[in-house]
Symmetry: C3
Subunit: 316 residues, 3 copies
């Protein structure tokens, strides 16, 4: 899409070189043919370092945009970014893609649907009422139980198990809101990647990334009814117990354990080898490793036990 | 159904005019051809003002029934109401209804099922393994992802998105219990109405009303794994984040925000423009507007932060 | 499978009688043709009383194994048990089983899939996109709404209702972990049994047992998005409200009520006729009966209210 067209859509002045914009991305990850945006003053420092071809900014932030990059100046960059995002959304299905490819010794139920462009590996079992979207790739030896949905462009590794009703690649919960309180969808043009040996529980939902990938690394075990938000990264061999939930862009290191009904806020980083007891609510990054935490607000588990003792005393 | 038949079913004496009862409804909403009931002394005051054709009551409450209305006197009105409710339940599917109608430019997967009597608008996408029940109506430009179930009689507006595995119109959690602890189903003969521009997340469940409608108003954004109970009303542009849950008959005004894993009890009213932080448990009505709340029991967010400070001191 | 083969797989010395092992089971329930294991010192006392044909043990526990029973000595019994479990897993589907049998007056959607070996009773309704696995048995008068998955070997009683997206029989969340933090699946070779008159809510998940059955007794009412872990036993007429969750092997007596977003840890026993308010987290067994509890950690409801009063005072 021509940059001039984008400028026109969002009502920004534009008088630079009219480059072709291929996709949208974050300030950090965008390249010369990509469009980025800055909507939060917290990220202003990333603007001057960005390699994006163009950035949607407001008038105050305009001055930080590097010379090699076009500044598209608007009043509400987040709202305009949402507006533009839909132009980069691929069609949900695409009949012009080649027929799906199914590997040797893989059984696909006649009641499953595998969209054009999808590739399924060898020795897989794709059961009834499964949907695998366009351009998705499923590895070898993977079992997909009934009523699972894998959205387009997602990747599922080898030796994975997706239990019934699991959803891989639903849209992340992203929208801009204007002063009237109305919402505009931010198209979620990223995907979900499951590495090898990942188990996903029944009716668990793994949201696709807005840009890039939501990443579930090797050997992760996810129980039933778990929610993983867009752009999360779940470290190798981590364990997410039933009904836990993770807001967007949170990253955790390997062998992290989240107990039942626990959760974490978005945009935090959790060092490896920590355990969070059932119901823990993690609200900030954890740099220590090898510890056990509990509570909401969360604290180390021993403090939490001590606190419960003190609360019991209050009752006397 | 003749009133005399109903009286016979529940073992109530009956000697009034044998009117035709068309449906059941609440004391407030029932009209002259409707049957209502009173099972909770809290609602006795509504009896004398009711326009219902007949009311199931116990002996103590009988005296409050207006003259124009027939009192059906039983020992356990709630149990008998449950018994009668099944006679007003329509069949789950009905082959005598006309074939479904599909609007122009709408694509329906051959692996979707659209029941007789359903109507789908223009420019929609109805994907594989979707079920749309009898007499349901889907507006224009609406996307229904795979494995979504819309039960009979539900209404989905224009420009809506229903993500994979979402359920619209499952039965509300309603039953009567007798002294032996046995339960009897209260048939949920209402529906769910989604107005325009509503997004529903993956594996979210929206229960149908017992009478009338569960109502999701214009522009609402619902994340994954959210539960909305029967007869709730979610105000325009409200935002329900992942794993939040709402018990029956709760109403919230526009631009209400419920964070992840939060919830509200039933039968409460929440004024518009309030925000409830993640994990907040709202147990009574909120009349103020424009505030932020947290905690369980819930309180204003600043008090909650202060309380956490005091609790931290207890640890010293 | 010959015991010598099992010994070979797990690298245990073996010089007893080479019996045929038919299945795996707990120390308490295993019979002479079954293999058991002990991986937790808490269960060592059960070893000497076990009637198992063979037990996987470590060197320290070897001495407690009864004479009639073969001890298979390994370094990590839990890991080796996981390794062996897969050899006892039946195939997910089995075309050599007889065609499914459907009772009189039962309607099965052409878009449902009923696997070989399954039996459906009379007067049932099996709707679109339902999957019923091998050897499962569905009773009479049962309604299975769209997109429900019943895994193989499960039993659903008479007069049950399974709402859309419910999952019956997904794998329990079981795995062994080695010193490198890698996980190995413990095959869940048990099933789920729903007795008569059970209602299961939309998108609720009921995990199959590792051995034996996850049991949902007569008249239980389960709301939407509830998680029941492997080997739980839910007593007659119990009520599990939306988004509640139950870890493995927990048993509750009849007419237990768990409120919304509540939960219980694994391996506990709850006496009948108790009520747990919304958000209660039950962490140990309850022997009293007829009480109401709240909070996490949980306490009797009056104490919880008192505690909230004391906390409110802290704010002054």
């Amino acid at each position: 899409m021509k940059l001039s067209e984008i400028a026109n859509i969002i009502g920004a002045k534009f008088d630079g070189v009219d480059i072709e914009i291929e996709s949208m991305n974050t300030l950090k990850d965008a390249g010369a043919s990509e469009l980025s945006f800055v909507a939060n003053s917290k990220y202003v420092k990333d603007v001057s370092l960005s390699n994006a071809g163009a950035i949607i900014v407001d008038a105050k932030t305009m001055e930080f945009v590097p010379e090699a990059c076009v500044a598209l100046v608007v009043e509400n960059p987040y709202w305009e970014m949402a507006e533009v995002s839909k132009y980069f959304a691929p069609p949900i299905e695409d009949k012009t893609l080649p027929s799906s490819k199914i590997g040797a010794n893989t059984t696909v139920s006649p009641k499953a649907e595998i969209a054009n462009g999808a590739i399924v590996g060898e020795n897989c079992m794709i059961m009834a009422h499964v949907y695998i979207g366009a351009n998705s790739v499923i590895g070898d030896n993977t079992i997909i139980y009934p009523n699972v949905t894998v959205y387009r462009d997602c990747i599922v590794g080898n030796n994975c198990v997706l239990h019934a009703g699991a959803v891989v690649g639903s849209d992340g919960f992203g929208f801009a809101t204007n002063k009237l309180g109305e919402h505009k969808k931010i198209y979620q043009n990223g995907n979900v990647v499951l590495e090898d040996d990942v188990d996903v529980g029944a009716n668990t939902t793994l949201d696709r990334a807005v840009f890039g990938s939501t990443l579930i690394k090797k050997g992760v075990r996810i129980d039933n009814l778990v929610q993983v938000g867009h752009n999360c990264e779940i470290g190798e061999y981590s364990v997410l117990v039933s009904q836990s939930g993770f807001a967007g862009s949170t990253k955790m290191g390997r062998n992290t354990v989240f107990g039942a009904q626990s959760g974490a806020s978005g945009h935090i980083e959790i060092a490896p080898f920590n355990t969070f007891a059932a119901r823990t609510g993690v609200t900030k990054s954890v740099k220590e490793t090898g510890l056990t935490f509990a509570g909401f607000p969360f604290m180390d588990h021993k403090s939490w036990l001590k606190l419960q003792g003190r609360l019991a005393r209050l009752l006397k």
